[in-house]
Structure formats: structure tokens, C-alpha cells
Assembly symmetry: C2
Homo-oligomer: 234 residues x 2
């Protein structure tokens, strides 16, 4: 990863670790140069990246200020690092419903941009926070990239496993969402009547070369569907 | 606006005007230098901004590719330019329900970060696409910044009015959303029973100095709540 992206990530971690809030001031550029051990031009590039990503705003002659990067209980859709890295204050327990090797149907082929004869891992999990059901997830992972998967791995963070064990780093993602009736299957897992409404969040996860390796469908019951998106005009 | 942000915006417009799709290739940097009449370093900065914003991806040795910037019928929450600039292929008709000068209650004060005695324009509008109700919006605008508002202005794009007539340029925004029952008032405007579920989208719009000038509540009936968020890992 290029240096300024790495520094951008470190500044994000600094904001999260110090639980900085909207309008909190960051150190001036000369201090950031020292704190993050980078050149002035690298710091300036990193700040431009963070501004474009909606994490800071810079006011000429006044300083660098933090935006809403982390809000307790809400999921920042501009930080697609997976639920366990987004809801920092919560302990998320995953229960594995199913891990299976399948062939993709037409919908899966479309979302994964893959061939009909490819091997796909289907992983279904329920997520719990404080013992209460939070969400129900079905992930489709291309075996071509995710070479191995089992129940034990799926109980933890799949993304951490991919990075640490398969050297597979997600690069970017799409999130699509809509309000829908949850239906029979999801209702059974969320412990709600099938005609209740919930939020369906579909994710596509891309590698740096543009290949899609993961297509996931997440269902949130209406009371847990709390999201935000910080964005920018330009 | 700094040059590379302006160029980033021009490249976005190029993507939109040419209806470029996911994985479509952009011209190489040397061509972009000519096409957009900018230096190589400005083009590179603009591309880094667009990458951070989730509009392109760059593959070493292979090229610059477009991501999902525009998808027909879906609202890109990372392009907060207002509904009429987001749903490009549709003609949006606004019907004004109410324009009033009010004092803010506690919730409005919190979202606008304003004082209890400030003057606030409340603007309520229904939005129609192809004659069908699309959404119901209540906006709270601080008179301190939005010095004048009336029904005629509210029938058009408020943001275009602010930029063209008041030289007021939104800089960044927060979108919060959740699935909720629409209730009596919203149900009346959306022509749906009060116990139907919909998506409530709350926006805060900021000026470049970090002041909030607009707090809006948008209600979408479940069939029109189609959103996406392209984002990045880093």
C-alpha cells in the first residue's frame, strides 16, 4: 500500500482510538509530520484522502477537524470493514448456520461476475450482540480466491482470516440496500413474523484488480438497522 | 475550489455524461492531461480523490477503471447532490406543502447545532416521478445562512437556488437512515397506511467551515427506497 494511504489509515485509527467526535480538532500539519513520522507532502495527501472519504474537514486558516467517523450503535457504511470492526464497543458473536460448497445460480453469477461452473462457498451466519439477535447473513465466496472455508473459520471474522491466512485483502465494496418484508427463512432466524419489514443490505467486495470475491446478503431487523453515510460535495 | 477537486468533479461529469459503467476503462493519464487541460500531478491528485470517493479504481500496469457511479433508479448516497441531480434519467416534480418561519425545538436545535431563538425556515415538499409519489421531505434551513425562501423557490431545486442566488455552497453531509413505520402524517402524503414501513433518511448539510445550514428528513415508501454506497477499504 502506498505510504499516504497507510498514513490515512493510521490517522483514522487515531481518531477511533481517541474517540474523537464531530468538530474535534486534529493536531496541525507540522505536528502530524512528527506524530506519524511522515513527510509534509505525505501528510497533506493523506488528509486530502480522508477529506474525500468524509472523515475530516479542513478550514483554511483555522485547522483540521474531525467528522462523524464513529457513532455508537450506528454502522458507518463508508467504513466497510465488517461488522466486528464497525461496532467497536460491542462484542459480536457469530453462530454458523451452514457452510456449503455450491454452484452459483443466475443471481449469484451476476453479483459475483463469475461463471456457472465455479465453486462457491456459501456461508450462513446469525450475529448476536449482548445475546440478542442482530442480523442474519448469507455470504457467497468464490473458491478461486477464498481457497478454504469451514465452520470454525466462519465463527470468527472471515475478513481477518482472509488477510492473515490467505493474504487476500479486500480493496473496495458496493453496498445496496432496500426496505423489504423479511419473509419466512429470514423471519425464522430473526425471530420475527415473516411479514415484518427489515433492511436488506447487499454487499459486493472487490479485490484491488476489480475482481469480486464475496457477495453477501445481510438482513437486519428494523430495530437494528441504524446506518449512516458521511459524504462530500465535489 | 482547488484545481484538483475541480478536475475530479469534471471527471465525474465525464463518467456520468458518457454513462460509463463498472469496469469501463478511462483514458490513460497522458490523455487525461490533454482532455482536462491540467498538469500530470493535478490529474494524479484528482484520480486519488476519485478513488477515495469510490468512483474509480486504479490497477497498476493495467489502467484506470470506473466503479458504480450511477445506477438507474438507485440513489448513490456518496453523491449527496440532491434528488434531482442523483436520479438523472427521471423528471422530479416537487409540490410544496408548506413554507414557514419557525423557532427550532430541541431535536432541530441538536441537528442544526443552533440556538433556540434562531429563525428557521421549515419547507415541506412531496416529490413525484412520472406522476407517482416518490418521497416526502421536511427541511429545516437556518435563516442566518438561507436568508430568503418562499414557495416558488421551493418548487425548484433548493440547492441550485442557494448556489446561484445566495452564493451558498454545501460542502459535505451526513446521511442517517433507518427502517420505521411511516405514521399518520407521512402516510397521508405517501398515500399509504400509517403502519406501513418505510425508510427515514435524515440529512445534515454542512458549509465548508463546518456550520450546519440544513437538516432534512426524507421519507421513502419501501418500494422507492433503493440506495447504494460505493466505499473503500483504507
Amino acid at each position: 500500500m502506498v505510504k499516504y494511504k497507510k498514513i490515512a489509515q493510521e490517522i483514522t485509527n487515531y481518531i477511533l482510538d481517541n474517540k474523537l467526535k464531530r468538530h474535534d480538532k486534529l493536531p496541525v500539519i507540522d505536528e502530524l509530520v512528527v506524530d506519524f513520522n511522515a513527510s509534509k507532502s505525505t501528510i497533506i495527501k493523506a488528509l486530502d484522502i480522508l477529506e474525500a472519504k468524509g472523515q475530516i474537514y479542513q478550514v483554511q486558516g483555522s485547522g483540521i477537524f474531525v467528522r462523524d467517523v464513529y457513532i455508537p450503535g450506528k454502522i458507518n457504511l463508508n467504513r466497510p470493514e465488517g461488522l466486528s470492526r464497525t461496532l467497536l464497543d460491542e462484542t459480536i458473536v457469530s453462530r454458523v448456520v451452514k457452510v456449503e460448497l455450491i454452484k452459483p445460480d443466475a443471481t449469484i453469477q451476476e453479483y459475483l461476475e463469475c461463471e456457472p461452473n465455479e465453486d462457491i462457498y456459501m456461508v450462513q451466519r446469525t450475529r448476536y450482540i449482548k445475546g440478542k439477535i442482530h442480523s442474519f447473513e448469507t455470504s457467497y465466496l468464490r473458491k478461486k480466491y477464498v481457497r478454504y472455508m469451514n465452520e470454525q473459520i466462519a465463527r470468527g471474522s472471515i475478513f481477518t482470516y482472509l488477510e492473515d491466512n490467505l493474504d487476500l485483502k479486500p480493496s473496495f465494496s458496493n453496498a445496496f440496500f432496500q426496505v423489504k418484508q423479511i419473509g419466512d427463512e429470514v423471519g425464522r432466524f430473526l425471530n420475527e413474523p415473516a411479514d415484518n419489514y427489515g433492511l436488506e443490505l447487499i454487499n459486493q467486495f472487490f479485490l484491488s484488480n476489480g475482481a469480486i470475491f464475496d457477495y453477501s446478503i445481510l438482513w437486519y431487523s428494523s430495530k437494528h438497522a441504524q446506518f449512516f453515510v458521511p459524504s462530500n460535495f465535489y
